[in-house]
């Protein structure tokens, strides 16, 4: 798995490539918390387009990012969910808890 961040206006976009599981979810968690809690970015957008698999430890990192975002009054957005990512969020009954968009343009345009 590779993870990198880039800036687009006031939005910080986190690009994740590869499977997210117990082996590498701590890394995602770290990047999310660094940006939301330490750098206090106002808006963080997670690009999951290149993530074919995500397990509950990955979901837990996303939930933690969302909760910390709420505490910091920043915005937490997901886009590009693969069928696998969508299914695990649906099975966890979390799909409605997240702000989810189809693609990057829609995520950036969200007001």
């Amino acid at each position: 798995m590779q993870i990198s961040t880039r800036q687009s206006g006031t939005s910080t976009i986190v690009d994740v490539v590869g499977d997210i599981d117990l082996y590498n979810s701590p890394e995602i968690r770290k990047v999310l918390l660094e940006n939301i809690r330490d750098k206090r970015v106002p808006r963080i957008i997670i690009n999951l387009k290149e993530v074919r698999y995500i397990d509950s430890s990955g979901v837990a990192s996303l939930v933690e990012g969302l909760k910390v975002s709420r505490n910091m009054s920043s915005r937490f957005i997901l886009f590009g969910l693969s069928p696998a990512a969508r299914e695990v969020l649906e099975l966890s009954r979390l799909i409605k808890v997240f702000e989810v968009y189809e693609n990057e343009d829609q995520a950036l345009a969200a007001t």
């Binding site: 599981d21 509950s56 979901v59 933690e64 696998a84 299914e87 966890s92 808890v97």
Partner: protein, 153 residues
């Protein structure tokens, strides 16, 4: 025909992607569709991750035994296992020698409370047709069954 694979795995998170690859191909060979394959992989991954984290407390040098067995109409003549007599599918048996879970823990938590963690057991039981957990002196055994012809659903 009996067709089963037995894997002896280290309790290391790097093993997860390797097992997912093998299980995905096994599920394809048995005839599950893409969506079913995805969910089977998820359930197996969650079961292994739970053993690594809870049974072995993140000690990565322990052993997990995983048997993947294709269920067929000519198998499962045990009267206690009626589902297997009529159905094709896959059975996964995980054995660990770590700390046992209690029955209450293996039920999972209330999902209405949105917080990180506590999802694994729910995912496994939603995906699989049968989930049996038996703690024991000679190892804890978790048995998952996913049927190809879900006649009972």
């Amino acid at each position: 025909m009996a067709f089963s694979l037995k894997l002896e795995l280290p309790s290391h998170p790097q093993v997860l992607s390797i097992v997912r690859s093998a299980v995905q191909q096994f599920a394809i060979v048995v005839g599950f569709n893409e969506e079913e394959c995805r969910s089977i992989i998820l359930a197996v991954d969650e079961a292994l991750a739970n053993i690594i984290r809870h049974a072995y407390d993140n000690r990565y040098d322990q052993t997990i035994e995983l048997t993947c067995r294709r269920l067929g109409p000519d198998l499962g003549t045990d009267p206690g296992k009626p589902l297997e007599e009529v159905c094709d599918g896959l059975e996964f048996i995980f054995v660990d020698h770590g700390r046992s879970a209690t029955p209450a823990q293996m039920k999972g938590r209330d999902l209405d409370d949105v917080r990180p963690g506590g999802l694994g057991i729910h995912l496994i039981s939603q995906i699989m047709n049968q989930v049996c957990y038996e703690p024991g002196e000679n190892g804890n055994q978790l048995r998952l069954i996913k049927l190809l012809n879900r006649k009972k659903q």
